[in-house]
Symmetry: C2
Subunit: 358 residues, 2 copies
């Protein structure tokens, strides 16, 4: 499917700055159409992104604020989405902590010195985000300049549990057993590690806010491996402390996957919008979450491998479930997958704009 | 923690055969105490099992019915659980299909010729379970003899989706993208593959039933990667057909993980008992499932790495959520993890028996 220019995007109705549909939805105010963006919208599926990555490693690209901003802005413009998200990674704050973070080709992040005991926490280098992560603030400023007020800019960070699980497992994990064992067996080390992460992450997000992001998203991507009981005891207090430490007035999107049974607890931890994955139905989830939050999501990223007609059907069903209640942001239920056809991503965005008019 | 002999196990109250607490619970009838068993109770965490495995590969052990039965019976006796489960694997029916199934050390199953298109389905060798999987029927008979009526014997198989996902991905997978893409893009190949799996699995389970298992469990371990929409369209009809094809009168436990939003659909697909993972609360899940099914589960296997006091607390909370409604079988929310301390597994079983008296 090729795209019918910008005809389907309601450009003319775009209001300026704080009145943009994405920010209206974050505040649960009426908006003229359903805003949409995609997690990992500046990613490997996009030829423009792959061209930039030919010359640079992932971490090098994050460090080159000019190129990171270019990638951020290009993706938002190419897709015609209603928000841009800075090009960065949830594990960037681990670089100055001195744990030996590396990104291996196709294998995801590796941490050479994982955290397994109290002494490992002591060994973490104290981080001044203003010094060691200044390049992210610069990416925010350059992205804002590049976007020129056309769409809002989202900043982000990993939530404490997900960052801790990478630190403890030493990389991605399926069952997160080492993390759970440490949490159960060594509550004090867990507490100290989580507090360290909360402090650094709060500084990091507040730096992004000071540099000009309009909203932030907290990625607790792997928290769905926990039982509600463990979430409540070992995660909720820290995420809550982190969100409470953020500069007020900037909407927070609180996202995780496999969180069907954790949604109410995640809401209690904080955030203006709860990000849903595809495993829950939007209407049921939002009903459970109550009137005080918006929701974001939730198409299965794998559905973008179907044909355009099927994608349009799925979007239509998704929007029908979201209904007309203010506070809904269309998105996938997790990041765009690397091999996704660009035309299908465009079909997704266009279908939201077409079916999501008020 | 060491075990206080068999004192905590209510041996004296054990009724014979069909009146065993495990089978009473499968039928949602009152039972004198809460029955308990553990998925993968005959596994690597057990020294007796590791000793047998020193001499044989995983597939070799499955093929040696005498040793498979020994492993089955030893685990049930050692733990004092209320049901034994045959030692086998959900992928055994793939061996005669000729897809090149291998088990690599620490790396899980690999399939050398994965299924990706119609021609791959055509290539599958037709399977006569009575010929190629006769050793499993023999394991059932020998296990039954070894158990001598003391506790019931559970047979099992992989559910169609989970088996299909291994066949398509060529092994374990995190996101199951290839499976979802095939399902979306090539509905006819998906249908033919699922029908083949349903037919073989029905024959395979009926053979186990004929050989004498008292109940069967269907493992749809990875089905929680799907949205409710995709489960309903692409999985439910096949699982339903499979369960309907089983010889009546033998209880079916229908288990999956990450299925918080799929529970009602899984119930509709069939089964007398729905197996829950730790991501849902038993009381809420059972409430949603309604009066027509029992439930099984659901402690996080990682919790067995905590100390005995914490395990006992968690069991107590789990049983409190299960309440006094007949039809509850205590278990973990997935298989015992390889490094789990045996004493903690015993503490789990003992705590269920201690707190689960009527």
């Amino acid at each position: 499917m090729t795209r019918s220019a910008q005809s389907q995007r309601p450009e003319a109705s775009l209001p300026p700055a704080a009145e943009h549909p994405f920010l209206l939805a974050c505040r649960r105010e009426e908006s003229p159409f359903t805003p949409v963006w995609l997690m990992r919208q500046a990613g490997r599926y996009l030829p423009e992104y792959r061209r930039v990555r030919e010359r640079l490693s992932f971490l090098e690209l994050c460090g080159r604020s000019d190129l990171a901003a270019e990638v951020t802005v290009t993706a938002a413009e190419r897709l015609g989405v209603d928000a841009a998200i800075i090009f960065a990674d949830i594990l960037l704050p681990l670089v100055p902590m001195g744990v030996g973070l590396r990104y291996e080709k196709g294998d995801g992040p590796r941490i050479e010195q994982p955290i397994r005991m109290a002494a490992d926490v002591d060994r973490l280098t104290p981080v001044s985000v203003e010094e060691s992560l200044a390049f992210v603030a610069e990416t925010v400023r350059l992205s804002r300049a590049g976007l020129n007020g056309k769409v809002p800019l989202i900043g982000f960070a990993g939530a404490p549990f997900t960052v801790a699980s990478y630190l403890i497992e030493g990389g991605s994990s399926r069952m997160h057993v080492t993390t759970k064992v440490l949490m159960q067996r060594d509550a004090l080390t867990w507490q100290r590690l989580m507090e360290r992460i909360v402090d650094v992450t709060a500084d990091y997000l507040n730096m992004q806010i000071a540099a000009g992001v309009d909203a932030v998203q907290l990625f607790d991507s792997w928290v769905g491996c926990l039982s509600p009981r463990d979430y409540q005891r070992h995660v909720l207090p820290y995420t809550k402390r982190l969100i409470s430490a953020l500069r007020p007035g900037v909407p927070v999107i609180h996202f995780g996957t496999m969180t069907g049974s954790l949604l109410e607890l995640m809401r209690d931890a904080g955030g203006d919008v709860v990000g849903l994955d595809w495993r829950v139905e939007i209407d049921e989830a939002w009903q459970r979450l109550g009137p005080e939050v918006g929701v974001q999501g939730n198409l299965d990223p794998a559905l973008l491998f179907a044909d355009a007609a099927e994608i349009r059907r799925a979007v239509r069903e998704m929007l029908a479930r979201a209904g007309s209640r203010p506070g809904y942001i269309a998105n996938l239920g997790h990041g765009v997958l690397p091999e996704t056809p660009v035309d299908n991503v465009l079909a997704f965005v266009d279908a939201v704009h077409e079916y999501g008019r008020r």
